[in-house]
């Protein structure tokens, strides 16, 4: 029986797989195949090995022996003639022979070209110097390991899959590594910016320096590399430079032989080149206009080639591919197409505490692409659905949580949650399981998501499990529960206040445009609801860094006076702790007369209001008040308003402590601060409570043993007595607790949420733990408050008297009567 001769050029992963398939489909009596005599030429002087595992070899986690796919014995057993270290330099298609650089010529009936690809070397000056290596085969790995033995510095050019694996490996070998990447984020072909950013952070955390948008100008050195210079002249010293900027298909041999070649050797879906007896397989082949650099599609090609060699008519059609980075500790996975487009939707899950990020890109109820960082366990599951085009509409709500949340056959999210055992973890951030949630709901009679959050902490951190928590509530309460989804801040976004606050911190967003951009605002410049809220969040979160945006403030806070129904303003100067003096009163009287101010009134906040001031007069009124030592009372501010006091030990026969003095100290300490909503305090000298401290946002009742600190009172639209938060022995301690409490409220409060509403949402116990019990935390909160006050305690009136925002007060033009009235 005349066996045909099959010759293969290249002994990489793709032809290795093709041979396995061939031997399986048409086994020979003594191994190998009955259909062909097989000869393989390989330029690399070795057997077939798992190229993708070179990185663990470099990192020292595996040896070469561990990654061999077919050892020498396999070739003997299967009667394959392997020429190691023979590079084919010529194909003679008329004679049907191939010839190697060592002069061996072999005839073929069928030929497979599987020459793989070569690393691309950017032709910058110095690219051919000693010490510049690429990353493709075992020799490169050995060169890197040798260099690493001496320690020193490595620069890796290219922040793609290969570059990062090289960087991580070199670092494991003890080198100091810098990655230079030309694009704005790492692995841009596989990752979206968010995941690229997380990856960069975790590489940096392990000590690898990453420089994105780095354009290499030259490799410097004398005979041997000494550094890499960028086009902005930054110089990174280097003892070894790894170029990992991409690969080029090895199609030269095909071209030489006169085959159709484009980027790769062009094949039809049956993997045949323009010569029907010649197949091209692997990275060197171009199928359907695409070349491939990952093994999965190459293995599919291998199967097609094996079948067709045996007379079949299989076809290769490219499908989505998936990538995993093989760097221990960096778990990322990307699959399919995750670009943004109008007709696509996305589902994103972020869990900053666990460093988890997942994004699914959907179109017409099918998953197109997935990017995962941190927890990649569901990667293959999503990938499978991408390839199948599975209709996900039924499991949409729980899809992002992965396979574990889909109840077997049924994709009903309720059924899926019902099927979970009591010890199934629902909230990953806070480690709350299903049983705990349902037990608390029943025990405490909880009825809302907010209640459940307050009492169990479930979904109180990143919020990504909110949907699941709601389902547990639904399961427990039945129809009694009306899901109220997270209330978006306004119609410009779907995000609620808490998400926005969290993301401002997590993503280091430091301006309103940055927030709108990064969080996908639906309007170009927000609205009168979200802009003031964002302005507050940014000012509270980035003291000293964020520049206040006056245009995002309500008029009162912009001109530091209260607008009245007729467009005039009222002006309230501070009277610290409600104390005043003849000089201050005289100045107020003078101002009222000088500017014809129609009304002067004592406010409910123990100070004096000048009502009906014309806008143009405001700076001059303030100048006079400033001259008498008075500053803005901020009667307009979502910030500190008043600290009311009673006369205390100074005068009162019942006074136990200096309530007036403490009130003044508190007002001097807190003034100028911005808070989510207005903040009013009072200090009463004894429990008779003449300053009405027990209906304030924060109230102090002086007692013989010190100071009882109260909070969360209300006496406006709602009426509530305060809650006793704790006790302070000294004034200093009282001030520290109140500073810490104010800061906690500033950091967690939603815009326009008074303290009492924040307390209801978060829970007294949580607040008490944070500002009374945990001393270190109290001190940290206090310090953050003190720091932010450095930038806040500037009298806005004085600034405007000095000329700030002058355009606010003067009209742009006064038209002469003649011009307007015809």
């Amino acid at each position: 029986m005349g066996k045909q001769k099959l010759v293969i050029i290249g002994n990489g992963m793709a032809p290795g797989r093709a041979l396995e398939k061939l031997f399986e489909a048409a086994p020979g009596e003594n191994g190998g195949t009955s259909a062909f005599d097989v000869t393989v030429f390989n330029a690399e002087p070795r057997v077939n090995y798992d190229r993708i595992m070179l990185s663990p070899v470099l990192a020292g986690e595996k040896t070469f022996d561990d990654i061999v796919i077919h050892g020498d014995g396999w070739y003997i057993k299967n009667n394959v003639t392997l020429y190691k270290g023979h590079k084919i330099t010529e194909i003679d298609r008329t004679k049907k022979t191939v010839t190697s650089d060592t002069g061996v010529t072999e005839g073929y009936d069928k030929l497979i070209i599987a020459t793989g690809s070569s690393p691309f070397i950017i032709p910058v000056p110095g690219h051919d110097m000693a010490g510049v290596v690429s990353y493709r085969d075992l020799d490169d790995v050995h060169a890197m390991m040798l260099a690493a033995k001496k320690g020193g510095r490595a620069v890796v050019i290219g922040g793609g899959l290969l570059g990062l694996e090289a960087a991580a490996g070199l670092q494991m070998q003890g080198m100091e590594v810098t990655v230079l990447h030309i694009m704005p984020h790492l692995m841009e072909r596989q990752l979206d910016p968010a995941a690229g950013y997380l990856l960069q952070r975790s590489l940096e955390a392990r000590g690898i320096r990453v420089h994105c948008k780095a354009n290499t100008k030259a490799i410097e050195g004398e005979g041997r590399v000494s550094g890499v210079r960028l086009d902005d002249d930054t110089l990174y010293p280097a003892d070894i430079v790894v170029m990992a900027v991409g690969i080029r298909p090895n199609a030269g041999l095909g071209k030489l032989a006169g085959l159709e070649v484009n980027r790769g050797i062009v094949v039809t879906p049956d993997m045949k080149t323009s010569d029907a007896d010649i197949y091209a397989l692997g990275e060197c082949a171009e199928a359907s206009g695409q070349v491939f650099g990952l093994v999965a599609p190459l293995y599919e090609q291998a199967g097609v080639v094996a079948k067709n060699l045996l007379g079949g008519s299989a076809e290769f059609h490219p499908s989505a591919t998936a990538t995993k980075l093989k760097v221990t500790g960096c778990d990322l996975y990307s699959a399919g197409d995750f670009g943004e487009a109008k007709d696509r939707e996305e589902i994103v899950l972020r869990d900053p505490t666990r460093g988890v990020y997942r994004r699914l890109v959907l179109k017409d109820n099918a998953i197109l692409g997935a990017v995962m960082y941190g927890d990649v366990s569901d990667g293959p599951w999503f990938f499978d659905m991408i390839k199948r085009g599975t209709d996900i509409s039924e499991m949409r709500e729980t899809l992002i949580f992965g396979q574990g949340y889909q109840g077997g056959a049924s994709a009903d999210p309720m059924a899926a949650v019902a099927a979970l055992p009591d010890d199934a973890e629902i909230c990953g951030c806070n480690g709350v399981c299903k049983g705990t949630i349902s037990k608390k709901i029943t025990e405490l009679g909880l009825t809302s998501l907010d209640d459940v959050r307050a009492h169990t902490k479930a979904s109180a951190s990143c919020g990504s499990c909110t949907g699941l928590v709601e389902q547990v509530i639904k399961l427990t309460l039945g129809d009694a529960y009306q899901a109220n989804a997270i209330q978006p801040m306004c119609t410009c976004t779907d995000l609620g206040h808490d998400d926005v606050r969290r993301l401002i911190k997590a993503k280091s967003l430091k301006s309103i445009p940055a927030v709108m951009q990064e969080l996908g605002w639906k309007t170009s410049c927000g609205c009168a609801k979200c802009r003031p809220a964002l302005n507050y969040y940014l000012i509270a979160d980035w003291p000293g860094e964020y520049e206040d945006d006056g245009k995002s403030r309500f008029i009162n806070e912009r001109v530091h006076a209260n607008i009245q129904k007729d467009g005039t303003y009222s002006v309230v100067p501070r009277m610290w702790g409600g104390m005043t003096s003849p000089a201050e009163l005289r100045a107020i009287a003078d101002v009222a007369e000088k500017f014809n101010i129609p009304a002067v009134k004592c406010t409910g906040g123990q100070r004096i209001d000048l009502l009906g001031v014309k806008k143009e007069d405001l700076p001059a009124v303030w100048a006079d008040l400033n001259a008498a030592g008075m500053v803005s009372g901020a009667a307009y501010a979502k910030g500190l308003r008043t600290v009311k006091t009673c006369v205390g030990t100074d005068w009162c026969r019942f006074g136990t402590q200096d309530s007036t003095g403490l009130g003044i100290k508190l007002e001097k300490f807190l003034w100028g601060s911005w808070t989510p909503a207005k903040l009013k305090l009072a200090v009463s000298g004894c429990p008779r409570n003449c300053a009405e401290a027990t209906c304030k946002d924060i109230g102090v009742i002086c007692v013989d043993s010190g100071y009882d600190i109260h909070f969360a009172g209300a006496a406006g639209l709602d009426i509530h007595g305060t809650i006793l938060l704790g006790h302070a022995d000294s004034e200093e301690e009282a001030i520290e607790i109140i500073g810490a409490l104010t800061q906690a409220y500033r950091e967690q409060g939603r815009y326009l949420e008074r303290i009492y509403k924040w307390q209801r949402r978060v829970g007294t116990e949580t607040i008490r733990a944070a500002v009374i019990e945990d001393r270190a935390n109290r001190k940290a909160l206090f310090d953050r408050f003190v720091f932010s006050q450095k930038f806040a305690q500037i009298d806005p009136w004085a600034e405007r008297v000095a000329g700030k925002d002058a355009h606010e007060f003067a009209p742009m033009a006064e038209l002469a009567p003649m011009q307007a009235a015809e």
Partner: protein, 114 residues
Amino acid sequence: MNAMTKEWIEVGAVDDVPVRGARRVHTQAGEIAVFKCADGSLFALRNRCPHKGGPLSEGIVHGHGVTCPLHNWVIDLSTGEATGADKGCTPQIPLKVEDGRIFLDGAAIAKLAA
């Protein structure tokens, strides 16, 4: 004088009006507010909210709208109409820009007084 005369009255420079802000122009016929949006477009409206006369110049400017400072009606700057569920309209004053200077339509201002 003829009420129909097309007369453009210069009121100041484009740069005088802050972005996402407004300036007032005093006239015999009452105040006019000149707004500049984030995209640089300029609009002039009578400075009286159709609700209870609030000074629109003091409101927060967003998109091509302004939120009245008194009770939060949102007025469309390009038409002077209240948006959403609210009904009402404040007169719009034609405006043009030449050489970085802002001009208002004198006849339209005169009509406000009428």
